[in-house]
């Protein structure tokens, strides 16, 4: 049920529509939680009928109507309660690692392209995170001093940066290993 909580956090940071939430989940929140718009609309509806959120219809000219959601009392209480409960440390689901082990039963060199592609994606993400850090937290246009919310957003972003750096270094290790296997055992 962590999507509910991610939505509560995002709407507390700033109220918005399902569509806007979906876009946030492609950016900042999406660094550590993903969701499609279908899922978001469904959960928003449930949360509203559970009394965690309030809706406000915003008729717009030359645009479809917008429903702006915001967190109300019970929603804030639900978040607070969740913060006090322990959660399971996350376990990773890494398709690429499955592929790498599976490559032992095929030609390992077929994965080189794939791993290079993943490396590029992570490299792009890292650049994106670093640009965001400079813009919001460490650059000259950033507010000083940062408030508690900004400090917490920054430490989460630093986690994303550390994750991407670690992943890129590991993918380089993977590439070196695949290439080594390719030369010593040409074709499986």
């Amino acid at each position: 049920m962590a999507l509910e909580h991610a939505i509560l956090v995002s709407l507390l940071e700033k109220p918005g529509s399902g569509y806007e939430l979906a876009r946030r989940f492609e950016r900042s929140i999406g660094y550590f939680w993903t969701a499609t718009h279908q899922q978001i609309y469904r959960v928003l509806k449930r949360m509203e009928s559970d009394g965690l959120l309030a809706v406000r219809g915003l008729p717009q000219q030359s645009r479809p109507d917008k429903k702006e959601y915001s967190v109300v009392g019970p929603g804030r209480a639900a978040l607070s309660q969740w913060l006090h409960e322990p959660i399971e440390p996350e376990s990773v689901r890494h398709d690429l690692a499955v592929k790498i082990r599976g490559a032992a039963f095929d030609d390992p060199s077929v994965l080189i392209r794939e791993v290079e592609r993943h490396r590029q994606v992570h490299s792009d993400r890292l650049a994106h995170y670093l640009a965001g850090e400079l813009r919001d937290f460490t650059g000259p246009a950033a507010p000083t001093p940062l408030d508690a919310g900004q400090e917490l957003q920054h430490v989460v972003l630093r986690g994303g940066i550390a994750y991407e750096r670690m992943t890129i270094a590991w993918l380089d290790d993977v590439l070196a290993t695949l290439r080594r296997l390719g030369t010593s055992h040409p074709h499986a």
Copy 2:
């Protein structure tokens, strides 16, 4: 559908029963893919009826009968095909990061205990991985030279080690941040 592929890889490495697979998913395979026994039994049944796996009933004395699964031709072909298809780079789902951002709307210090607990879990995992690396790949009892399959298993394990080290360092950063906020702004 990556559970199917993880099962194919694991059964190619060594045939086994659903129960045995479930235990492997708590260990080596489980470092990067998790599954409960329910899910494993269901998927094994489907894969067998799809002709990817063969079953062999092993009656045992003083134990319930065991069904040993192994990969047959079409299963190997399915894995090979998957290896040639591109997959989406994984996106993280990190509950703890949601909590950290949510802490801005409550007392950040309530998370200190929780983060310390997660740090301990990751520290234990790291120790476990390092022991496995020494046993299987870098210690005196390890085979030399390693074959391709072992090299690939090792590079995946190195990824797990790098992940845990990065996570521990980040959690230390998180703890320092939470403690700093706690002293400068006592209670929210």
